[in-house]
């Protein structure tokens, strides 16, 4: 016999305040709605976006504009990588430039000193990045919140200072010049990727790979475990999530993407020096997912476009453009602290 409780049929409880509040919040927020719409795009609309991205070099003729667009792509890869640690797993990392530096120096040294192919240096750079990510991941397992921020800050500085002082390997502040352009093909049939459109297509490929990886991982068992850690570490552990394993994995994954961006940076600039990986660089990378909305992939992409493209719009204002950007950030944080596309996160007023 099936027990039917008459109360099951009344939905009074389900209609009460709480569940309504959620729908309200989503309805009120046009940007979040836009992001959700974007996620629901059918494949042909996605194809249209891809096509539009492919067309950009044909439309944009100035080298200056292309350079900025390439930089936007580079920062999308960096910020999406950081977003894995900060947005998904909820761990603050103020040293992301360290992974970027490792990727860049690995490619630079292997190509210049050992004449390795660019394509082979990518996996090597990512490997070193992951290794460093794991090294950083371990001490951060013991510290939380503000303390974690300081540990990662210190870590970023260690990598910068190492790059600045290890003369034998990195040539210190003099940097490594003359990094050759990547080549496609073999022996007589080689294409040298050295024009701006070529670099653009290369970074576009990396951006697509990164977006694909992030979307896949967010919607998987691993992504769910990361988000559980973000919400409540203790409960996550009780629910069977191995904190050591998943936090280290988040840092490793993030580092791999950082190193990928670094490898591209090295060949694009054809010169690397420690000055590209200062703490300011980490701060710029951090602002992107925060501006776009932590945990949101489209938000991070839009954030990169604003943060990197924005200052260029105010080129005419010369020195004042950074002031304008700064003011914009301040206003943003007051008006929309959750970022452009971020969902307003519920924070309990107390923790046990």
């Amino acid at each position: 016999m099936k027990l039917v409780n008459p109360k099951d049929k009344t939905k009074l409880d389900d209609l009460a305040g709480g569940s309504q509040a959620g729908t309200q919040e989503r309805k009120q927020n046009p940007l979040v709605r836009m992001a959700e719409l974007f996620a629901r795009f059918k494949w042909h609309l996605k194809l249209l976006i891809v096509f539009a991205c492919l067309m950009i070099p044909l439309v944009v003729s100035s080298n200056y504009a292309m350079r900025i667009i390439i930089y936007i792509g580079l920062y999308i890869v960096l910020a999406l990588g950081l977003n894995v640690v900060m947005g998904f797993t909820g761990l603050l990392n103020i040293g992301h430039a360290a992974f970027y530096a490792v990727g860049a120096y690995t490619t630079a040294i292997l190509m210049v000193k050992y004449g390795m192919s660019f394509w082979l240096t990518i996996p090597v750079g990512m490997f070193f990045g992951v290794l460093l990510g794991i090294v950083l991941g371990f001490p951060t397992l013991r510290v939380r919140d503000d303390y974690l921020a300081i540990v990662t800050l210190g870590f970023g500085q260690i990598v910068y200072i190492t790059a600045n002082n290890w003369m034998g390997l990195t040539r210190g502040p003099r940097g490594i010049p003359g990094i050759p352009a990547p080549r496609l093909g073999f022996s007589d049939f080689q294409i040298v990727l050295e024009s701006y459109p070529a670099y653009y297509y290369l970074i576009l490929l990396f951006v697509f790979i990164t977006i694909y990886a992030c979307v896949r991982i967010k919607d998987s068992r691993v992504g769910l475990a990361w988000m559980a850690i973000r919400e409540d570490e203790d409960v996550a552990a009780v629910m069977g999530i191995n904190l050591v394993y998943y936090k280290t994995m988040a840092f490793g994954f993030s580092a791999a993407l950082g190193a990928l961006a670094g490898s591209f940076f090295a060949v694009f600039q054809s010169f690397v020096s420690p000055n590209s990986f200062t703490i300011l660089e980490s701060v710029i990378i951090i602002t992107i997912p925060i501006l776009g909305g932590l945990g949101s992939i489209p938000g991070t992409i839009i954030g990169a476009i604003i943060m990197i493209g924005g200052p260029e719009l105010f080129r005419a204002a010369s020195e004042y453009r950074m002031v304008i950007m700064g003011a914009f950030m301040v206003i943003m944080m007051i008006v929309r602290p959750q970022g452009l596309f971020g969902k307003k996160l519920y924070q309990p007023t107390y923790k046990i």
Partner: protein, 256 residues
């Protein structure tokens, strides 16, 4: 042999002994009520059992595992089959109800980083199965969770969050469910309904250990009741036996 056997468990917080040589046996498929005044060590016992606090002494054996449970890490315990809810409710607030439940099934699934990246068919299938299983568990609570499954957990009502926590623990397919004060914040009709749900869970072969202050709830639900005071078991027996026992009355009301 009992499914869960706790032998002289000790837990100290500095000078305070929260659990003092605590012994308990729970048989397969049993519902045991745990009562006692505030501060008698009930929740501490749950926290030690689920690995949140390290124990200072004693042994816990579960099911057929020959290993002492207290030596395991927190995240390994749910895999053995012990799942729990929390006294102060702790759902994953910004995740949807369905996602909350799916995290409960984390220990029963295997998909890793690479299978997710290459979108392996087995990983997708596993995820679909987990979703279906989570919805099955939701059905235990009628339409209450099902109708809000896509809403973030923080938007749920107080009572629904309690249901969510129980459901999340159930998705792990455990053999023993630890429930910490399930009826707090529920009205009498809702507690009654919850008692029926717990009985339905129990009928599926899951042992339940429940901490509760609502004596009507205990009376209805638990054939066996254990009373604690100062971290020790003072009385054990049927509800009627425990209720009228002088030691229990003394623990709650004091001596004349």
């Amino acid at each position: 042999m009992a499914q869960l056997s706790v032998r002289s468990l000790i837990k100290r917080f500095d000078g305070l002994t929260a659990l003092n040589n605590f012994n308990l046996d729970v048989d397969e498929g049993e519902i045991v009520g745990l009562i006692g005044p505030n501060g008698s060590g009930k929740t501490t016992f749950f926290n030690v059992l689920s690995g949140i606090y390290p124990a200072d002494g004693g042994e816990v054996f579960f099911d057929n595992h020959s290993e002492n449970l207290l030596k395991l890490k927190t995240h390994q315990i749910i895999g053995l089959g012990i799942a729990r809810t929390f006294q102060i409710q702790r759902p994953f607030n910004n995740l949807s109800v369905l996602e909350n439940l799916m995290i409960g099934g984390h220990c029963r699934t295997q998909a890793g980083l690479f299978s997710a990246l290459i979108n392996l068919a087995s990983a997708r299938k596993e995820r679909e199965q987990l979703k279906a299983h989570a919805r099955e568990v939701m059905a235990l609570f009628g339409n209450r969770l099902r109708s809000v499954e896509m809403n973030p957990a923080w938007t749920l009502s107080y009572a629904n969050r309690r249901r969510l926590e129980i459901a999340r623990a159930l998705v792990s397919d455990g053999k023993l469910l630890l429930i910490d004060e399930p009826t707090a914040g529920m009205n009498p009709a809702e507690s009654l309904q919850l008692a029926q749900t717990i009985q339905a869970i129990n009928k599926k072969g899951m042992a339940v250990l429940v901490i509760e202050h609502d004596m009507k709830f205990i009376k209805k639900l638990c054939p066996r009741v254990v009373a604690l005071d100062y971290g020790q078991k003072i009385v054990e027996g049927t509800y009627a036996e425990v209720r009228s026992h002088p030691k229990v009355i003394e623990a709650y009301l004091g001596r004349d």
